[in-house]
């Protein structure tokens, strides 16, 4: 039995998908991609449509929100799911991306007179800045393991938020306004305006697809093998010649880059950011999404990212008797997370490998 054969004998939907010839898979992928791009029009679908979208909110905006949550979940999945590094301060990178953009493009920024950049020009600079932040955070801290790393990253996110709140350059609560939108026009009208969120969603979706392709390429190379080896047995990995520190740092930098992408998009759409946007709960929420969806598996991370954004939104305007469910959204959301974790501790779409690792650990705790 060759390696490929064994991958394809596994059961379930993924097993079935893997057994299809390449053209069937290509058609299916194309079909679902097109479907994803058509999501803003889901409300027009008879019967099913009204069930999916939420009454009274701007559905395309909700979709855009989902898209940057998904980006964050994908980025955090590289750090937590692939490399096995618990990062509780992931929102810090989202903030650096957004603030980087704001500083370079908003008229409120002190360096605006010198830069006065458009959104697109600021993107590469902001992303380099976030990667740098990832390396700066990772360099001294990646020697720590497990819980200690989690605490340090938690501190990092808080530092970013507090610095943003208390330094005059970063303007605290007042924030940065008039951050330019992404460029482009169609029939004389700007594509990325203030009224229509559909183009933002499409932009977000496109970025997500590129990120998926990139991360997949990394995962199926020595980089992914090194991450997996580090996660499974760091010492053995090092003895086998894996430069563990380097690859952990790369995981951090790549995670930061993707988080920064989310921040850049967010700043471009909202056109306003302040320090209130980047609270710690945000990190925890994204982590909950990754774990809930299935850590170490991109499909799981995507689903998790969608859910953490969709569930609270969906409760808007719903009522149970006289109670407005939206007021209880976090309670309901919390209950949903607990339920999912009880019923499917490896996540909704688990990574097979992570599932087995969890099982092994269970056995260690309670030998049969």
């Amino acid at each position: 039995m060759s390696e490929k054969a064994s991958f394809r004998t596994s059961g379930g939907v993924r097993g079935w998908f893997g057994r299809q010839p390449w053209y069937v898979r290509a058609v299916l992928i194309l079909f679902f991609t097109v479907l994803a791009y058509l999501l803003p029009y889901a409300g027009d679908v008879p019967l099913l449509g009204p069930q999916i979208i939420t009454e009274g909110i701007d559905w395309p905006s909700a979709l855009f929100n989902m898209s940057y949550y998904v980006l964050l979940a994908l980025g955090l999945n590289v750090v937590v799911g692939y490399a096995g590094l618990l990062d509780l301060g992931y929102v810090g990178f989202f903030a650096v991306g957004a603030y980087g953009t704001a500083l370079l493009t908003s008229p409120d920024s002190v360096i605006y007179a010198d830069t006065g950049w458009k959104w697109l020009m600021a993107v590469p600079a902001a992303l380099v800045l976030t990667m740098l932040a990832g390396v700066i955070l990772g360099w001294p801290t990646l020697r720590l393991r497990g819980d200690y790393l989690a605490i340090v990253t938690l501190g990092f996110a808080e530092i970013i938020r507090i610095v943003a709140t208390s330094t005059t350059t970063l303007r605290g609560d007042r924030g940065f306004a008039s951050i330019p939108h992404p460029p482009g026009s169609w029939n004389g009208e700007p594509i990325f305006g203030v009224t229509d969120a559909i183009p933002y969603f499409w932009l977000g979706l496109t970025v997500i697809i590129l990120v998926i392709l990139g991360v997949r390429n990394l995962d199926r190379s020595r980089v992914g093998r090194s991450w997996l080896a580090i996660r499974e047995d760091e010492e053995a990995a090092e003895v086998m010649g894996v430069r563990t520190f380097k690859y952990k740092l790369w995981a951090f930098a790549i995670g930061a880059f993707i988080g920064g992408l989310g921040g850049v998009l967010f700043a471009g759409e909202q056109s306003f950011i302040n320090s209130q946007t980047f609270v710690l709960q945000f990190s925890i929420l994204v982590l909950a999404g990754v774990v809930m969806g299935g850590s170490g598996n991109m499909a799981g991370a995507i689903l998790g990212g969608v859910l953490i954004s969709y569930i609270p939104d969906r409760l808007r305007g719903l009522s149970f008797g006289d109670t407005d469910l939206y007021e209880y959204r976090f309670a309901i959301f919390g209950a949903a997370i607990i339920l999912i974790m009880v019923l499917r501790p490896q996540g909704l779409i688990p990574s097979r490998r992570r599932a087995m690792e969890l099982k092994d650990r269970e056995k260690e705790v309670a030998p049969l």
Binding site: V223, S226, A229, E235, E238, M356, E357
Partner: protein, 297 residues
């Protein structure tokens, strides 16, 4: 079980092939281990007066020996004699308190574990430490990656180097799995392999790093006699490919059957060195090790 050889003509040749400016070895070749050639070209790894203390515990006490290229070298001793400690010092896990360890003439003390591996020393673990959720092939490919130069960027953009190294690494890994005899399990997750297969897989993974020196830490632990015999054959075949083998073992029969030279440790001290036959007849060894009942069947 093959008889341990005494002094092969090859070894005598090696003694004679000493550079002219070296003092000629005095006496018979039986005394060769005592007058270890330190500067000879054939020395691969040199443990030079190594002492290793953990707090007040002296795990290794002034231990010296050297491995020659192309030999199978045994490091033996009763439980707790310091074999694995010595082994860990040689592979960069521990740093000697005193003394030097030189590999191909270069000190390896203070080098990082991955640097030592890429420098040509590979090892296996006493308790199998594979990457349990990776397939057998992937495990070996991690080892093969040690010499790959594919960067994150070339992996991300699938540059030519990525394809080239991925293809050659895969081919070499499959070849090694065939070499150790478990190629039919290539696609199976390593935790599902039998114990014997896992041991073999660990050897394949270590060989994938392209070592000059392969260190095996009790590779026969838990093996039945038939499996031990297979392992013996495998170790010989590894040596025949030009790899020097360091074997830590307390199964005496296995060690006597396969090694060219042996160092015996007891309480962190070297008590004997020589060919299997010499070591077997050494009174100190008999007193310390062979004279007492051991679990070596």
């Amino acid at each position: 079980m093959s008889e341990p050889h005494q002094e092969t003509p090859e070894e005598l040749d090696r003694e004679n092939a000493r550079p002219v400016d070296q003092p000629a070895p005095t006496g018979g070749s039986a005394s060769a281990p005592a007058t270890r050639s330190v500067s000879g070209d054939d020395v691969l790894l040199e443990v030079d007066h190594v002492t290793l203390r953990f707090g007040g515990v002296v795990a290794l006490n002034d231990v010296s020996f050297s491995l020659r290229k192309g030999e199978i070298f045994g490091l033996i001793g009763p439980n707790g004699a310091g074999k694995t400690t010595c082994f860990n010092a040689m592979t960069g896990v521990y740093r000697p308190t005193e003394g030097a360890i030189r590999f191909q003439g270069e000190s390896i003390v203070g080098k990082k574990k991955h640097q030592i591996t890429r420098g040509g020393i590979a090892r296996t673990f006493q308790n199998v430490r594979l990457f349990p959720e990776m397939t057998a092939l992937e495990n070996v490919m991690v080892g093969a990656d040690a010499h790959h130069k594919t960067s994150v960027i070339s992996a991300l953009f699938r540059l030519p180097r990525f394809w080239r190294e991925e293809k050659s690494g895969r081919a070499r890994s499959l070849e090694l799995l065939r070499f150790v005899g478990i190629v039919h399990r290539a696609g199976d997750v390593s935790r599902n392999l039998s114990y014997g297969e896992q041991r073999r897989l660990e050897i394949a993974r270590a060989l994938a790093t392209n070592p000059t020196l392969l260190c095996l830490d009790e590779p026969a632990a838990g093996f039945n006699p038939a499996e031990k015999e297979d392992l013996l054959q495998l170790i010989r075949r590894i040596r025949d490919t030009g790899v020097t083998v360091l074997l830590i073992e307390h199964d005496m029969r296995l060690v006597m059957g396969v090694t060219d030279r042996i160092v015996v440790l007891e309480f962190g001290k070297k008590i004997a060195e020589g060919t299997p036959a010499e070591v077997r007849d050494n009174p100190a060894v008999i007193a310390a090790y062979l004279g007492v009942p051991t679990d070596a069947a």
